[in-house]
Symmetry: C2
Subunit: 169 residues, 2 copies
């Protein structure tokens, strides 16, 4: 049955990279990520907690439409609050949440888009981990350690994805 | 190449019926219609012209995501203004607009959901054709006569759809 793999974690925690790895290995997934959604469907929304909630609400509905039409989805959104992730699990019928386990320090070090630098200097506001909250792993979430080099992550990752796929067979 | 067939017309003009006929005959289409979208993704929107524009904006973005992921779409939304339909044609790379040709009187007579009755009695507001505008066919739109019995329509319809499919091959 069609399902959604919902990746949650800080900016720079590897969500988009991991979404691409899953798609490449297993095929048959549509990736939804912040860059796509923030530029289009959700371009009217900012980064306040209210706007983040509306952002997630719309993405949930999008996943439902895709899943109902036989399309598997991987999402890569920060989804900072446990309450948001609980809604994800409740509202999307076949959905597994994978939480990226990584320290804020490591994300700051990676800073692939230079966003932490801008957030720390005050150039951008409401940035998760700097001046906006991220609540760690909630109940029923898979945990994926992304602090270590990617090769180790991949083995653990594929194990998780295979368990998810079996669950929704 | 993946494409969108965008059906426009009054409530009761046959958009959803025709979307189902196309999907059944050709397969490989996802249908997006008002009932799905208004209950979920766009449940925060009403029927003022501003909200209708935002409704259409989000659906355009949804079609883009689906098309970019190799999925064909048929939409069934009133899309009352020519300006909205022009945006549809500009923003969705491979998109054809099919305009339902039917008189308001015939739609009122059909009234499949009893909505015209409610709009005329004032029970619902901002209803297209009663107290909200519908602008007739604009440039570059296919026209489909849906006033006549459905069997005649189907021949004309399949001819249009085959022309659309050839265009995006």
């Amino acid at each position: 049955m069609s399902h959604t793999i919902w990746l949650t974690g800080l900016s720079g925690s590897g969500k988009s990279t991991i979404a691409e790895i899953i798609k490449k290995k297993y095929g048959g997934y549509v990736i939804l990520d912040g860059d796509i959604l923030r530029a289009g469907l959700n371009s009217d929304l900012g980064f306040s907690i209210e706007d983040r909630s509306e952002n997630i609400r719309r993405i949930i509905e999008l996943c439902r439409i895709l899943n109902e039409n036989g399309i598997n989805v991987i999402t890569a959104f920060i989804t900072p609050l446990r309450e948001m992730r609980r809604k994800v699990q409740i509202k999307i019928e076949n959905c597994s949440v994978i939480s990226m386990l990584i320290s804020l320090d490591e994300c700051k070090k990676r800073d692939p888009k230079g966003l932490y630098k801008k957030a720390i200097s005050g150039e951008i506001k409401d940035f998760t981990g700097i001046d906006s909250i991220y609540e760690n792993g909630g109940p029923g979430e898979y945990s994926l350690y992304t602090e270590c080099p990617i090769d180790v992550t991949k083995l653990e990752l594929f194990d998780i994805v295979e368990r998810i796929q079996k669950e929704y067979e």
